[in-house]
């Protein structure tokens, strides 16, 4: 620690440092060392962190957030682990931000996201895994390169789960189920590897067919739309025609009802008229009959232009008459 000072001082006998005696230098050096040690005794643990204290490399305790005092540096060390912070790993894509915790290999992302489905098709699945460090002791001391391990686990589990599903299921109805199954199985694996990681959530991002196949998947969607369009058009034609026909049927029925009412009422009226007339006639049949006849004649005669009066005794007149000459039927 202070070796150079001690050794360097006695060698040049003629050299007398004017102010600093060896004892003074030694004291100063010791003082600095002590000061550094004292400073290394205080630790401020942030609210989202826990401090793991090791004594000569051996785990001794975990300290809570706040200002904490331990033995100085060579004896005790504190490793801070952000247990409350939610961490995430991205698969199949990267958020372009410099401050992500882990540096990744320069793998192509399609490598990460391309996977085989249970019907031996290919799907591209990208996802985010959100997790926390649940057990800082395990996280620090049980697994080498935890983050790398965790990524491997994620990929293996996701592929195992996708491998048991058809491409259609993966792309349509299966999303939620996939996420939750991966979550459960990943947690089991985390526990069995003693990573100290708690998986919070798997969030599936883009789940798509590979680029080369996308157009044909879109075509299926289009065909589905087209199917619905055709059906809708037929339905709208149905809806355009049928209610109208129902209305027209009602119209026909109403007209028939009108006809019926008209017919019956008229019959009733005619019958009533006849009855009234008949009773009057019965009271004075001869006169009434004659009166009606003469009234009718009175109405008829004036309208007729050609009237020929023939004596009752005159016979053989008929050949003289130009019947049909002026009259047109």
């Amino acid at each position: 620690m202070s070796d150079p000072n001690i050794r360097g001082v006695p060698r040049p006998p003629n050299f007398k440092p004017p102010q600093f005696s060896p004892r003074w230098i030694l004291t100063a050096a010791l003082g600095i060392v002590v000061l550094v040690m004292v400073f290394s005794m205080g630790h401020s643990i942030q609210p989202e962190e826990l401090g793991v204290v090791t004594t000569f490399g051996s785990y001794s305790r975990t300290i809570e957030p706040g200002f904490r005092v331990t033995w100085p540096a060579p004896i005790q060390k504190v490793q801070k682990v952000p247990v409350q912070r939610q961490l995430k790993q991205e698969f199949g894509f990267r958020t372009v931000r410099a401050d992500t915790r882990s540096q990744f290999d320069s793998r192509s992302f399609a490598e990460e996201s391309l996977m085989l489905t249970g019907d031996l098709n290919v799907a591209e699945v990208s996802w985010i895994t959100q997790y926390r460090i649940d057990d800082p002791f395990k996280y620090l001391f049980k697994v080498d390169r935890v983050s790398h391990t965790f990524r491997d686990m994620n990929e293996a589990i996701m592929r195992a789960v996708i491998g048991d599903r058809s491409v259609t299921e993966v792309l349509t109805v299966g999303r939620q189920e996939i996420a939750s199954e991966v979550e459960v199985r990943l947690q089991e694996l985390c526990d069995s590897y003693e990573t100290g990681i708690k998986v919070d959530q798997i969030v599936l991002q883009d789940v798509t067919p590979p680029d080369e196949v996308k157009p044909s998947f879109n075509e299926v969607n289009q065909a589905q739309q087209e199917k619905e369009r055709l059906i809708n058009e037929a339905r709208s034609e149905f809806n355009r025609i049928i209610p109208r026909a129902r209305g027209e049927a009602q119209q026909v029925l109403q007209e028939a009802e009108g006809y019926a009412t008209n017919r019956v009422n008229r019959a009733k009226g005619d019958a009533a008229l006849f009855n009234e007339l008949l009773s009057a006639y019965k009271r004075a049949p001869d006169v009434t009959r004659r009166r009606i006849y003469l009234e009718a004649m009175q109405d008829i005669y004036p309208t007729i232009k050609t009237k020929v009066v023939i004596d009752a005794d005159l016979k053989g007149l008929l050949p003289l008459l130009n019947l049909g000459g002026e009259t047109k039927p």
Binding site: M115, D152, S166, E169, I231, R263, I292, I310
Partner: protein, 311 residues
């Protein structure tokens, strides 16, 4: 004299410090240690963390990882039993269980990784070659789910598996385990990380996927056209129904009314058919004779007989 004494004390202190640092060492929580004296292992490996003592200068501390270590397989192009070429990417977890043996056989982690490469890559190759692709891809014979209207075409029968991914990884693990037994290490887990078709195969698979999708699309279109035709037919049927029913009901109503009217007329006119005939005749005369009619009137008629008599 006093100065010499001071120097002596200094030397003593320095020597003490050197001896102390030489005989004390720290074993970290993540480490285990094998002590060797001139290359010869001394005592049992130290696996507990803390401050430890050793013989200074002659004893060397050999530190080894106590944690689970990662082994990352090479991305290998392998054929399956059904002659499909796939890329297989694997990983394994392992740890040093016997540091002394490990030290003797493998020396360090890099040596171990290279042995694991040999063993695990080999076993992976063997296992993959013994099974069909589907056995590696699927873990169970779980039924696929899909929307009712998006049911997979049944042309390609989905193969059932008899072993599955889990079984295959177990197999690799078990065989590899026996081969690392005397290396002082233990493989805890082995997994297939990534599986993928090699490029040529992938293109074929894509072509197949495309044709599969096209078939589904065609099915949708046909279903759409069929359903539209059905609805159109139903429309015609309903239309005819409505129209004919309306006609029928209208005729019934009219018929009933006509009958009722006929009854009414008959009831009235039957009271005096003769008078009815007279009245109706008058009405007919009034309606049929018009200005174009030529009327020949005999003087013996009801009306004109007065005319004659006057003359």
């Amino acid at each position: 004299m006093k100065k010499l004494g001071g120097l002596f004390i200094f030397i003593l202190v320095v020597a003490a410090v050197i001896v102390a640092t030489g005989s004390l060492y720290v074993v970290d929580e993540t480490q285990q240690v094998v002590i060797t004296r001139f290359g010869e292992p001394i005592g049992e490996p130290i696996t507990t963390p803390g401050l430890k003592l050793k013989f200074p200068f002659v004893d060397t501390v050999n530190r080894f990882e106590k944690r689970f270590l990662a082994w990352d397989g090479d991305r290998n192009q392998l054929p399956t039993k059904d002659k499909r070429f796939i890329y297989v990417d694997t990983y394994a977890r392992w740890r040093i269980t016997d540091p002394l043996k490990f030290f003797q056989r493998l020396r360090d982690v890099r040596g171990a990784q290279s042995r694991l490469d040999d063993i695990l890559d080999g076993e992976t190759r063997n296992t993959i070659a013994r099974y069909h692709l589907i056995e590696v891809v699927r873990s169970t014979n779980r039924e696929f789910k899909a929307n009712d209207d998006l049911v997979e075409s049944n042309d390609r029968v989905i193969e059932a598996i008899t072993f599955g991914r889990g079984k295959l990884t177990e197999e690799v693990l078990a065989t590899a385990q026996t081969r690392v037994g005397d290396l002082g290490i233990e493989i805890l887990d082995f997994r297939f990380k990534r599986l993928n078709y090699v490029n040529e195969v992938r293109q074929e698979v894509y072509a197949r996927m495309i044709s599969e999708r096209n078939r589904i699309a065609e099915k949708f279109r046909a279903e759409g056209a069929g359903e539209a035709a059905r609805i159109s037919g139903e429309k015609d049927k309903v239309l005819k129904e409505i129209q004919s029913e309306a006609y029928r009901d209208a005729q019934i109503i009219k018929g009933k009314a006509d009958a009722e009217a006929a009854d009414l007329y008959a009831a009235a006119y039957n009271r005096d058919p003769d008078f009815y005939r007279f009245m109706k005749s008058m009405e007919v005369l009034e309606n049929t004779l018009d200005s174009n009619t030529t009327l020949l009137l005999g003087t013996d008629g009801d009306l004109l007989r007065y005319l004659e008599r006057m003359r």
